[in-house]
Subunit: 191 residues, 2 copies
DNA sequence: CCTCCTGCCTAGAGCCTCTAGGCTAGAGCC
DNA sequence: GGCTCTAGCCTAGAGGCTCTAGGCAGGAGG
């Protein structure tokens, strides 16, 4: 009986597939082992435990996602860039619900901080926002607003939170418009 | 050995406590049974299965949450009402992370639709927004924007998503301000 | 050619959900 | 007071999951 050829990379890739099919929560080392034709105990020589697999999946998905977003934003500015960012974000969340869910788990901050994907994400977001003429700390506040709205919308959509008959794509476009006006009329301290 | 006196209500209440302590995901029928001094199989005569317990908890938490929000919003209007809504929302999410997580699970839409809590939530939100002079479908779009931002912010906060040194309360206030300006300058179709 | 290490294995503990079937105390009826 | 019915608990057991400990074999490198 030859070796099955499991590796961390193949494991994470398989986990990504499985997450999109059955949900991030339901990705199981047992099921992955079955997929590789291997006993589940064997996977523990490639990955410390389930938690480690999940954070690897999270970093993988985060990188994949920011690649798509970067490609969409490239060469655009202002409202165009914002819309492209938003569109790519939501499209990834739709196409890869399991991987997207993975990006939202709590991860050791030291791990996240020196992950290249995170740095890239921050860079792209901040440079996109600089077009609105914001300075710190408004810049950080605006980034948090955008992330919150984007994530919240996708999360609520994913759990079936939008029951009203109104088209969800139209609401999304409106939300992006509204964020644009919020950014252009950003509330400054008056004094 | 007398009866332990388990009931659906006590079960849900205990689950709510446990969810806030160990996280919604980690609420387990076994652990609840241990808490009641009862074998886990016994709980299945009060609740069909884990899923049913979870949706019961979700409806319970949803009702509790909208009660707090309603109390906070009462007697206020416009930006005041928005800020009160937002504050009560986030405070509940902070104080009861497990229950809040419960409110975000996917639930059978027919169950949700005729839950009184849901109707109340919709009523309060829509009436709060009418102060901004919006009509359908903008009203629904605006509700979705608010829910998305509120939920997204709390979710990201909960998973440690805001690593920057900027104070998270200040960013929240700014976000609420920004939403207010977005609502007052709501993007209309120009034609 | 030999050694070592990698990649797999078996065995087993522990925790979880959920089903099937049975016993019993107390409530309601005659 | 006796009778029945049922709610609320029980034991037994199957099956899925994570994870540890220890073993074996085949291919790569000295």
């Amino acid at each position: 009986m030859g070796r099955a050829g499991v590796s961390v990379e193949r494991l994470v890739a398989a986990a990504a597939e499985m997450a999109d099919e059955v949900g991030f929560e339901n990705v199981t080392l047992s099921a992955l082992a079955r997929g590789f034709g291997v006993k589940d105990a064997s996977l523990y020589s490639h990955v410390r435990n389930l938690k480690e697999l999940r954070t690897r999946l999270a970093l993988f998905a985060g990188g994949e996602m920011i690649d798509r977003i970067a490609a969409a934003v490239a060469g655009r500015a202002g409202k165009d860039a914002l819309a492209a960012f938003a569109g790519a974000y939501r499209e990834y969340a739709h196409r890869h619900p399991g991987r997207y869910a993975a990006t939202q788990i709590r991860i050791d901050q030291t791990l996240v901080a020196d992950s290249p994907a995170m740095r890239r994400t921050a860079g792209i977001t901040y440079s996109m926002l600089r077009a609105y003429g914001l300075d710190e700390p408004d810049l950080t506040d605006a980034v948090r607003l955008l992330r919150s709205t984007f994530h919240g919308y996708c999360a609520l959509e994913a759990t079936g939170g939008f029951a009203a008959p109104r088209d969800v794509d139209a609401s999304w476009d409106k939300a992006v418009d509204a964020l644009h006006t919020a950014l252009t009329h950003w509330p400054r301290e008056e004094r």
